[in-house]
Each structure stands twice: as C-alpha cells, then as structure tokens.
C-alpha cells in the first residue's frame, strides 16, 4: 500500500500553483483522501503540487452576506460554532463532527472534500443545499460554478484537471433560520449511509424557505428540491415533515445499493432521516 513515484512541488503563490496544474500536477491539500487513494492505487499522479504553503488560501471571511472559505481552511475550523456567523456556523458545526475524527479533521479541508466529491461527503451535500459557488482558477482564468452544476457523479466534478479550487462561497443564512444535521452510519468510523442537512425559515407560522441537502442518496450530493416544494407555504408539522421525507426519498433520491444498504432500505432511511432532520430544524 505505497504510493507510486511522483515529483513534488510546493508552490508559494496561486499563480505558481496554477502553473503546476497546467503542467499536469495534482493538488495536495489536506492529503487525507489523496494519500488514501495513492495507497489504494487509485491515484497515480506524476506530479503533486502541495498547496499548503500558498499564503491566503487559508482565509475564512464573511462579508456582505457571503462566507468565503479558502482552499486551505481545515475541517477542524468549523468545529467552533463562532467561526462562521449565524445559523450557517451552527449548521457547519453540527455537520463537521460527523466527518472522520479529530486528527483527520486537523488536516483535511472543506475545499478538498468538494474537489474529491465522495457521494457521502457531508460538505458536498451542504454545498448544493446552500447554493454555494465554487471558484476555480487556471492559467486560462477564473470561473465560478454553482454547486448544483458542479457535481457530476462519484468523484466526478465540472472542475477541469488543471483548475485549482481556490474558494467556496456560501450565502449566509438569515438569523431566524432553523438548522439541523443528522447522519445515519454503522459505526463511529464509517462514512454516512445517509446524511441530511436542513435549513428552514418559518415566518408567520408558515415555512417560507427550505433547503435540504442529501449525502449518499445518489451517485452525487443532492438538494431535495421536491421535498422542499412540499414544505413551502406549509405549517411546520410532523405530517408535513413526513410528507417531505417521502418526497425526498421517492422523487429526489436515486440511491445506489451498497453492502448493508440496498435501495429499499436506503429509501426508507432517507424518508425517516429527512423528517427527523426537519423536525429538529424547526421544533414543532
């Protein structure tokens, strides 16, 4: 289980990093997935660009209603709810503790998760649910892609191989947004069988905005649009949430069978978990 040989560069600027990518380099951020893939002979880069020395990429800023997460912001950062203002910080803090365990979170990055695009990734599900935007830089310039269009399949994204994911941007959530994150998994070490993140806004007794992100409910992260539609205008109630769960499970999700979770079971869990998450986001 050893990586095959590669050359190594440690660029000191974004421009140098982008040049290295143009020369065929693969990015090393936290390395918590890249090294795993190399050990398992799933990744054989000829050149690795270690971006850990690029200044500025570790910045986390919130301004004008937008949160910008630089490529080197580690999972760990989000464990303190104050790191990100408002309910978004609360949601991230609830989600992050379900990602691996502390030593992995000390190295792994949120942007790395989005680059890796594991279908069970918690961050990826939240990115699509929250209308995040992914910023990509290459020698050809910079472009932004909405998260909803970015994920194409397991470990597949719209990022071109020579593009550096420089930042992820999230609209901050309004202060009266209720949030929750729940995860169903087999042991403390396993990836999620299903995970659900939700953000609900209730005004004058009816739901005015709903965002539901689903991890490991398809070959890519999903936003549960059908489920959300059933909620808009409804009063927050157990039956409404159960209905939303049903919609998420039958209309939004496209579960892939796995050992210990066939499609029927997956669909069932999605329905249950979505309803539970919504209930927690907006206590009835």
């Amino acid at each position: 289980m050893k990586p095959s040989a590669f050359d190594y560069v440690a660029p000191r600027t974004v421009a140098d990093a982008v040049d290295a990518l143009a020369a065929g380099a693969q990015v090393l951020a936290g390395g918590q997935s890249l090294l795993l893939d190399m050990h398992l002979q799933r990744a054989h880069p000829a050149l690795v660009a270690d971006i850990n020395h690029v200044p500025g990429l570790d910045e986390l800023t919130a301004s004008d209603g937008t949160l910008t997460v630089g490529a080197l912001v580690r999972h760990q950062t989000f464990e303190s709810p104050g790191a990100v203002p408002g309910p978004l910080g609360d949601l991230f803090a609830r989600a992050v503790v379900t990602i691996a365990h502390p030593p992995i979170r000390a190295r792994g990055t949120m942007a790395g998760s989005l680059a890796w695009a594991h279908p069970a990734s918690e961050w990826c599900a939240l990115a699509v649910a929250l209308d995040a935007v992914v910023e990509l830089r290459s020698t050809r310039g910079t472009r932004e892609i909405p998260a909803g269009e970015y994920f194409l399949g397991p470990f597949q994204t719209a990022r071109e191989p020579d593009e550096l994911l420089t930042a992820v941007r999230y609209p901050l959530l309004a202060p009266d947004t209720g949030v929750a994150f729940t995860e169903h998994r087999r042991t403390g070490f396993s990836f999620a069988q299903v995970a659900v993140g939700a953000a609900l806004t209730v005004r004058d007794g009816v739901i005015t905005e709903a965002r539901i992100g689903l991890a490991n409910c398809a070959d890519r992260p999903l936003r549960a649009h059908a489920a959300e539609r059933t909620l808009i205008g409804a009063e927050p109630s157990s039956p409404a949430f159960t209905m939303a769960g049903e919609a998420a499970s039958t209309e939004d999700a496209a579960p892939v069978p796995e050992p210990y979770a066939d499609v029927d079971y997956r669909r069932h869990v999605i329905a249950v978990l979505v309803a539970r998450t919504l209930r927690e986001a907006a206590p009835v």
Partner: protein, 739 residues
C-alpha cells in the same frame, strides 16, 4: 523503578522501544510483495514477471513456473494440493500469483505493479451451502465436501413427534476477520547453515518444524523467534503460503527476506473465523425440560483442505452446551469454497456452538411462555453432576452454572430491566428495549495431542531465576504473569524471575498459545517445574549436609535443615552444586470454563439501529493467575463479540470477491463510540485437573456476547421466530426483521 510499570512489557511498549518484526533492522534485507489474483476463481493463463525484474530497486520476481520445487502448503491432500504460488488455477481472491522482492516495499510494489497476469474467470461459490451443491467444483472431478463428522448419536424420529414443543431454526455464523492491529509478519535471515525466522506468531515450535520439513532441512537448523506481537486472536497460528515463499527465497538467495502484510492484503488473504451455515432442532416437554437437540453444520473451510478442516468438529463436540439435554446429535460437513481458508479465530468453534443453542433457547422460552432465565435454570447442569459426560463426548470437569446465571441476573438488575421494558411497551413514544441472555460452556487447554507444553525453570548463580515455556504472547502479559507465578511458588521476589518464551532455541519443544491454553497448561506446568526445582534443591542440600531429604525444608527461596537455621539460598546452592535447571514436558487435561452473558439493547425500529445499553459477563475460569489480566482479556473479548453481533462481516460481490476494497472503512471494527457500559463478574470453580486450578480465559466474550445481544434485539422487537436476525445485525437487517 519496578513499581512504576504494572507489567514488565509496559516500559518498552510505552516508550517506543517495543520490537515487532517490522521494527527489526537487518542489513541487506529484501521486502516481499505478492501479486494477487483479483478474481475469486479462474484458470491462470499467464504470469509475466519480465518487466518487474527490470524495475529499479527490484531484486527479483518469480511466478510458480520460475520456482520449480517450491513446496506446497503442508497438511493438505495430494489430490487437492495448495501450492504456495498459484500454478494453474486460482481458488480464492487474493491468492498469490507471483512474488517480487525489492530493497524496500515501495520498490517491490513498483515491480509488482508491472507483473502481467491473465486469468480466465470461473463461477465462484462463497458459502458452504452453495458450495455443497457441487454445481461449481473447486477441484475438477472431486466433490467440494472435504470432511464429514458427527458427535453423539442420531435421534429417533419419535422423540421429535412426542415432544410437547419442537423449535427449528437456521442460522448463519458469518465470516469474520480476526484483525489484530499488527498484520502477519515474517523475516527470514539465513546465516551459514542456520535459518533464523522472526515472526509474530502463536506457535513458534510448530512453525519451526513445518518450515524445516518444507525446506527439507534438519529442525535444529531452523530457529524461530517471536518478538513483540501485535495481537493474534488465532490468525497467527499457522504456516501460510507467503511464509513458504519467503523462507524458500531467503535460503535460495542467501539473503534476509521479509514479508510484512499490509491491511489491504490482510483483508483479502488473512485467515477468517466462523463461517458456518447451521440448522437446529430443539425439543422440550411442556415444562420446558429439554429432550433433544440436533445441530447440523455446513462449515465453510475455504479453498483448500488444510489442518483446519476438522475444526468445525469443535462445534459438534460442544453442541450440548451447559444443559442436561439427554439426546444431542451434531453433524458437520466441511465444504470448500472460493475464499481464503477459515481457521480458528478467538473462540474457534465454541461461539458457533453457543450461538445457535442460546438463540434457540430464547425461541423456545417464547413458545412456552416461560421467562428465558427460568427456562435455562430448569436445564442447567447442576453442580453435583460434575464431572459430567455429555452426549457429544465431552467430559466437563467442574462447574456451578446456576450460580453464574444468578450472579449475571443480579448484576444486571434483571427484574428492573423487565419492569423498564414493560413501561416502554406501554408508551408508544418510547424506544423498545430488550434483554438477552446466553449461558455458555467452552473448552480450554487444547485437544488430545496438544494438551502439553514444554516448560523449564532454571536457577542462576546470581540468584535470578529463568522460566521458560513453549507459549508465545501476543498481548497476554506472559512476561509478567508467569514469573509472578514461579516467584510465588519458590517464595522469591518476582523481580528475580524472568521469562523466556517464543524462542525455539531455548526449549526442546513447545506447543504455543491458542485455544486459551497458556495459563492452564503452561502456567500449571511452570508451577509444577518450580516445585520440582524445590525438590531437587532439597535433595542437593540433603546430600551436602548429609541429611535425609525429609530433614530439609524450603521456604522463602531458600533451603534449610528442618532443625536449625542455616538457610542456603538458590544462588549459593548453584555455586556449590552446579547448574540447576528443570525441564519438563507438562501435560494436563482440557477444562471447561463457563458463565453467563447478558445484554440490554434499545432498538430504533424505524432505522433499525441497535444501541447496546448494558452488557454483563459472568465468567468462571477457575483460578485466575492475575485477575486484572484476565479481566482485560475478558473485556477485549466482549468487544470482539460485540463486533460479530453488530458490525463485522465479509460481504461478497456476485463474482465472489469480498466487498472490502476500502479496507477498515468497509470492515468495521468496533470503536470506542460503540462500547456500552460493561460489567464483569467472576465465579471461581477451580479445575480439579491441575493443582493450579486455572482454566483458560480470554475467549468467553466472543462466545457469550453475540447471542446475548441477538436475543436482546429479538426480545426488544418481540419476534416469535427471529430467523431474519442474522449477524451482523446491521440496521438494514434489524429494520427488515422488525417490519
């Protein structure tokens, strides 16, 4: 200094000074990497190592064709030989097709990646039940059934017809990976006529004799040394194909060669445990008295006949369990499948016996509307019936089973939990809880032929004492426990006694550490040898002092005349009378530890998740040499049992390849997040079969815990016939059973 560390092993292991095989530095050592089959079953068409040989850092690459004369695995059958490297047919996924030696693992893997292989796949069979049908034959023209056996006598049809209740059920004891944190290791160092083999191993002497025979050289020319070993649990007790290749190449090249198995290959090709498809019938009268029990086992033994094909007989012999059932019959078919071989894993055959019986007891209790504890109490073998000969041919040495059951119920607060269960059943919002029991009896010490070991005690001129034994520790604290026992027997300070084990140069023979035998056999043997040393010392002193032996006595590590005070310590005695060393082959009979395990679980029927709220284990292993060490073993064993019950398993794809590509992210070992509060209690019924009175310890958790947990889940869900609950009870399994 001494008091700072509770165990002698601790200082080196806590400071990074432990020495595991992978830590040993030997100049010129080569690392072996195996090219492995990605298919489960197929015809090998081509292996081309030429590109690998050209790879920088690679010292050589070989397929079976390149190594004529490479010996096959020992213990098989000529018609169904297990070659160390595949010759023409692949029979299990991961089977080694070629070996590459490099100056380190990186370069060897570079080479391995360049070995070209071509295999035409064949259909694969991965369960005993499927394989027994013989629609896919592992060996052309031969049945997949490798062995048939039985224990007890067939039960007449009328017994079943006349019984008030008969329960029938099917169970699967899933395949498990023993998963010590250190995988397998071997380092072979040829020096002149000698070959020194370093290996994290449980049976060094057996490894020596097998390797010597395979390499066709005298036993004395091979030395096996076991340094620190990172756990074993049964998985390091055999010789393996990779060992043969490494030893063979080391000798042929005259260079040190090592293989340090990594986790990915371990999950493919380490020996597995369990792997039985079972069918049971249990008959009782209207009062719940057991009348007859029949167990039919189809055991998956893996791809080749090997020393372990008869291990499932362990299950048959122990089928009677702790009950007075008058008629018991167990039959076994060991069947070849396209998987790496099944071999003993902690519990080895006894978990497979306990689980079907204990699960069926609960079904019977429900059928009779009896409390499961009461049903067991009515049938447990009472203390006055020991020694008890079972219908399946075992003679249990001793026991007080009802006492263990009662202690478990008291410790758990059984009635309190039943009340809580009733309360929750009345509250639709509450999650159901269930309570599960399991009474077990197991066998420790070994089978005939391996109920002995070599032990020695030697007194030195400097006043120290060296104890030797054929055991090998992989975490069981031998270096602490055995010297303490010898010191106690001799009446000297424990610090003066040290243990040497796991080195074949130190003792004429040895059996090793498996089947919970070390304390029972080696411990009793060391106590015996220390006693002989005292006798010898008294005889020498008697001669010196010109006294009859009866006029000498021994106390506090010294011999003295019965009348008078002039004592002579061991060091003085050795100085005056020469070397003093006792070597013994000590033999004892098997013993039968027993106990009761209880579990309380809470089930979320909507998701199928099981939360274990409480576990209680009452174990009786006779005299515990070091109670804290025994408890440590019991605790770890229970957690492995929890793993079997809820998390661990080997799922297969349709092609017969295990779906474990993500390693320990797929094969889920319990983490601390899964550990409930666990209460350990002991009862003490020393075995009358040795003066020491110790029975084996350390396997009970794997034996008693799984059925206790499964019974608790069935109880929570009020399932009348919980056949759908097959381990591991993953959420999807529980959800389906609850639906």
């Amino acid at each position: 200094m001494v008091d700072r560390w509770l165990r002698r092993e601790d200082e080196r292991l806590l400071t990074g000074a432990g020495r595991f095989v992978a830590d040993l530095r030997v100049d010129g050592r080569l690392d072996a990497v195996f090219v492995r089959s990605e298919v489960a079953h197929g015809v090998l068409r081509e292996v081309d190592c030429s590109a690998a040989r050209e790879t920088p850092g690679v010292a050589g690459a070989w397929s079976a064709a390149d190594l004529p004369g490479l010996p096959p695995m020992p213990g098989g059958e000529p018609a169904r030989e297990w070659p160390a490297l595949v010759e023409d047919r692949v029979r299990y996924p991961g089977e080694a097709l070629a070996v590459v030696l490099g100056d380190d693992r990186y370069h060897a893997e570079d080479g391995a990646a360049r070995v070209r292989t071509r295999i035409d796949p064949l259909p694969a069979v991965v369960t005993a039940r499927d394989a027994a049908a013989d629609s896919v034959a592992l060996f052309d023209g031969l049945s997949n059934v490798a062995l048939r056996g039985e224990a007890g006598s067939p039960i007449a049809g009328e017994v079943w017809e006349r019984a008030a209740v008969v329960v029938e059920s099917r169970y699967r004891q899933q395949l498990l990976m023993p998963s010590p944190m250190e995988c397998r290791t071997i380092l072979c160092v040829p020096e002149g006529d000698r070959l020194t083999v370093w290996s994290g191993h449980q049976a060094p002497h057996r490894l020596r004799s097998e390797l010597a025979a395979l390499l066709d050289r005298p036993e004395e020319s091979v030395r096996v040394v076991v340094p620190d070993t990172g756990g074993a649990f049964g998985s390091k007790s055999a010789v393996f194909p990779e060992f043969i290749v490494v030893a063979w190449l080391a000798v042929r090249l005259g260079r040190p060669v090592r293989w340090v198995e990594d986790r990915r290959e371990s999950l493919l090709v380490a020996t597995r445990g369990r792997g039985q498809d079972q069918h049971v019938r249990l008959a009782a009268d209207a009062d719940g008295r057991l009348l007859a029990y029949e167990l039919t086992v189809e055991a998956d033994v893996g791809a080749y006949p090997h020393l372990g094909v008869a291990f499932p007989m362990q299950t048959a012999w122990m089928a009677t369990g702790p009950y007075t059932t008058p008629l018991v019959h167990a039959t076994v078919r060991s069947v070849l499948t396209n998987t790496m071989i099944t071999y003993p894993y902690r519990g080895a055959g006894r978990p497979e016996a306990t689980s079907p019986l204990e699960r069926t007891m609960d079904v019977l209790a429900r059928r009779l509307d009896l409390d499961p504890a009461e049903l067991r109490r009515r049938n447990l073998i009472p203390p006055e019936l020991f020694p008890y000969r079972t219908p399946t041919g075992r003679t249990y040495d001793s026991g007080d089973h009802p006492a263990a059951l009662d202690l478990a119920l008291r410790t758990l607060g059984y009635d309190g939990w039943r009340a809580e269960q009733a309360r929750r059943r009345a509250d639709p919002a509450a999650l159901p809880v269930g309570i599960g029991l399991s009474c077990y009896v197991e066998r420790s010490g070994g089978e005939r032929g391996s109920l002995h070991d070599y032990v020695g005690v030697e007194a030195g001129e400097d006043g120290t004492v060296v104890a030797r034994c054929g055991a090998a520790s992989s975490g069981q604290s031998h270096s602490t426990v055995f010297p303490a026992l010898v010191a106690e027997t001799l009446g000297v300070e424990p610090a003066r006694v040290r243990l040497i084990e796991g080195d074949t140069d130190e003792l004429p023979g040895g059996v090793g550490s498996f089947g919970s035998r070390s304390a029972q056999i080696d411990g009793a043997g060391l106590q015996h040898a220390a006693g002989l040393l005292i006798e010898e010392a008294r005889e020498r002193a008697a001669r010196m002092w010109d006294l009859p032996v009866e006029e000498t006595a021994w106390s506090e590590g010294a011999v003295h005349p019965v009348r008078g005070t002039a004592a002579m310590g061991l060091s003085e005695l050795v100085k005056r009378t020469g070397p003093l060393r006792i070597d013994e082959r000590y033999e004892a009979d098997m013993a039968f530890p027993f106990g009761t395990h209880a579990a309380v679980v809470e089930v979320d029927p909507d998701l199928g998740t099981v939360r274990v709220l409480r576990l209680v284990a009452v174990d009786d292993c006779g005299r515990a040499l070091d109670p804290a060490v025994v408890r440590g073993q019991a605790f770890g064993s229970i957690v492995q049992g929890l793993g079997q019950a809820l998390y661990e398993g080997v799922p297969f794809g349709d092609d017969g390849v295990p779906l474990l590509a993500n390693g320990l992210l797929d094969y889920l070992l319990p983490t601390y997040a899964e550990i409930p509060p666990i209460d350990l209690r002991e009862t003490r019924t020393p075995t009358p079969r040795t003066p020491l009175g110790a029975k084996g310890a350390g396997e009970s958790g794997c034996i008693g815990t799984p059925p206790a947990i499964v019974n608790a889940v069935a109880d929570a869900l009020r399932l009348d016939h919980p056949e759908r609950l097959q381990m591991p009870l993953t959420p999807d399994v529980v959800w389906r059973a609850a639906a």
